[in-house]
Symmetry: C2
Subunit: 438 residues, 2 copies
């Protein structure tokens, strides 16, 4: 079995950049940032639109390239809508079937993200007496900023019985295991984990739903949906041009997020480094998904003062309680007139901050969700937390730090997943190809 070469992270390097004298690492950074910022066929209006608050003003023609050094949907400016799906392999799926599925998914994703039907024949171009290849519900809608991001669960490498069905067990990174149980976790296995995942983000919900639906049709016989989650109104901005959105507790979320323009932070905290022993994952990332139910009605009865002291920021401006504006770095040492620290010792912003976690940072890309209501008439709603990081330990460190978070009184983690997200594919390759190379 020959090992993948050093450039299996799928970079398609323009000739000009190859000859520019930049280091390979610098070029990777440039291509990454370029891919995230690239806007095809949308023009200045759409770029301006992307800077507005959630939910409006993006052009249906906005399109992000699917192929590249890294998968799209990570550094890409967060879209307004999410449809996320977790898949389990069928009992009969073997290595060849999974490779074929990844190949078909890659081709389909490249088409869908350009606003095309899932195949050439598509919704209406096939034989009349056959079911159409494409379900047709996104005809006329345009790409709408669609990105499709694929991930692999730990169970893809060894199933519940410990069997290495696909012959890839030896390539599982040592650090890639199911997440541990954290304080206050009330995890429902039915909405956690899975062998494969797809994150579809777009500015039109129908486009994201269409993508998951047509990709799951392709999987028929090889994999089937384990669970899905719809999300809306991105809770984190990933570019400096986006206003910081608010979560369902009414607070800005993601102020201190890693911004895609910050090349150094992205290289250090988001991408699996070039030195990683598993070559197939270099230039990829780890995605943590946590379904966090919010006890909305309880929170809504908490005083403004207490809400702000639980979070550690003001509700209106989003400024740290130590003073300044939203972008001001929190001063955790600052003491108020009453002799207490301005940002309480158990405030969310303190416990989640890199300074409390040995510098641990991740790129958050979560969405709000509402799954109807319960029998008491209360909203079944919360945050579908998604975060990309170079190593799982980052999330684990921060989540352990949050054990003392006062916010735990108002939230419940009910879903938990981790995925290894391979790097992007070059045209002609499929996503994850290096994992399955001989």
């Amino acid at each position: 079995m020959s090992h993948p070469t050093d450039d299996t992270d799928g970079v398609t390097l323009p000739a000009a950049e190859l000859s520019s004298g930049l280091s390979r690492r610098e070029v990777l950074g440039l291509v990454g940032a370029g891919a995230a910022g690239a806007v095809v066929g949308a023009g200045a209006a759409a770029m301006a639109g992307a800077a507005l608050g959630g939910g409006a003003a993006q052009s249906p023609d906005l399109s992000y390239p699917f192929y590249g050094a890294h998968q799209a949907g990570i550094l890409t400016p967060v879209q307004d809508q999410l449809h996320f799906a977790s898949f389990d392999l069928t009992r009969t799926a073997n290595r060849g079937a999974v490779i074929e599925l990844l190949r078909e998914w890659t081709d389909a994703a490249a088409r869908l993200t350009r606003g095309r039907d899932v195949t050439q024949a598509g919704a209406v171009g096939g034989p009349p007496l056959a079911p159409p290849d494409d379900t047709g519900d996104a005809l006329d809608l345009g790409p709408s900023g669609l990105t499709i991001t694929f991930g692999f669960g730990p169970t893809l490498f060894h199933d519940a019985q410990g069997t290495d069905r696909l012959g890839i067990g030896g390539r599982r990174p040592a650090e890639f295991e199911e997440l541990p149980l954290f304080a206050f976790d009330l995890i429902d296995r039915a909405s956690s984990g899975g062998d494969l995942c797809i994150q579809a983000c777009a500015n039109d919900p129908q486009v994201a739903v269409h993508a998951i639906r047509n990709l799951s049709r392709i999987a028929f016989g090889t994999a089937r949906i384990r669970w899905t989650q719809l999300g809306f109104g991105r809770t984190s901005s990933t570019t400096t041009g986006q206003l910081t959105p608010r979560n369902l507790f009414g607070f800005k979320d993601g102020t201190a997020n890693i911004m895609s323009e910050n090349r150094d932070a992205v290289l250090e905290h988001v991408w699996v480094p070039e030195t990683h022993p598993q070559a197939w994952l270099r230039g990829g990332s780890y995605l943590v998904g946590r379904k966090i139910q919010m006890l909305i009605e309880s929170w809504d009865r908490v005083s403004l003062h207490e809400q702000e002291h639980i979070i550690g920021r003001s509700k209106g401006e989003g400024a740290p309680l130590s003073g300044g504006r939203e972008a001001t770095t929190p001063d955790f040492e600052r003491v108020s007139a009453d002799g207490e620290v301005a940002i309480p010792v158990d405030a969310h912003v303190r416990l989640a901050h890199p300074v409390s976690n040995a510098g641990a940072r991740m790129l958050r890309r979560g969405y709000n969700y509402v799954n109807g209501n319960n029998d008491l008439g209360q909203l079944d709603a919360g945050l579908f937390f998604l975060a990309y990081q170079a190593e799982p330990e980052t999330f684990i460190t921060v989540q352990r730090s949050l054990a003392r978070d006062t916010l735990n009184e108002y939230i419940r983690h009910v879903g938990s997943s981790i995925w290894a997200v391979p790097p992007g594919a070059r045209e002609g390759e499929f996503v994850g190809q290096a994992l399955f190379s001989e």
Copy 2:
């Protein structure tokens, strides 16, 4: 008890129109169409945006007036997102409490649709030691085209025990009863009916969710949520400037819908007429809500030819199978080369068409929904059908006609509701005030 006067439909007539020599009925039509078309603070860009396909390009500043002859959210160009909530009165709610609730709801809706917090104090302007009036999750988002439409269920007039708790039983219109059971109905009572309803539509899902959440907080002690439904990607256009969107079966839906520009059709088919014996409902409408589950995976295995013959239109263009373009009137007599009628006798478009239903027409305003997936990995998805009409009989006639519809093999009606939607309120009035007048 004095009866409401002839103008209790809440028209605020501009002086210029009052003196224009138009008949009162004509003026009503103008005001209705004007209110639907009015765009405050958005400008030409937003108007252009409204003509695009679903999900994009509307300005967050788009605002529709709340007060007017008719409630907004009926003729208003269909927004991209829906949050619908049904409420039941609490056991202790009495006439005074319901009047107070409607008064507070009206004031709150007028504020929210202008993009303001639910009260003057709002999310961050109240006393720090009290829970904020507004939950804050829509701060910075703008009105985003929000409309809020209130409706009354039959059970508001007489509860399950037949008791007239609110002293309004005598004002229940004779035709206003729960919908009958139709062929193939599989109705779940838990997602049907209710004493009150609110339809919140906006171009940003977070704005619609924020509206329902804050209105349900106001109801605390008087009414509580019975069921809710999120929807997206409007399935019907209500103005000629909007492209016809597609439902989850991939077909254009709403081609022959009543358009708000069509004054005569709106007057004839949408508004309860000025001659109605119940003065409080004149200028209002009847809203039918049907949760229609779509058997997505079964449909997706049907051939294109069969799909088109079940619907009676082509999938791509949306043209009737009798020929022409999308806007061409179907020719139900036309015979194909094979000697059969071009549009089959059991095609959906034939059975739903006004010519098959003694001219019955309604203004459809439905939304697609996806409520996750079932245990088999199939999408729990479909159409949340909403239609406004001058009398309940319109829907009943058409739905009975659809008993022979081949489409029934691929859909299940699982939720069923009817609401009397009062006319709009003038500033200083509350929605439904005439129903509760002495």
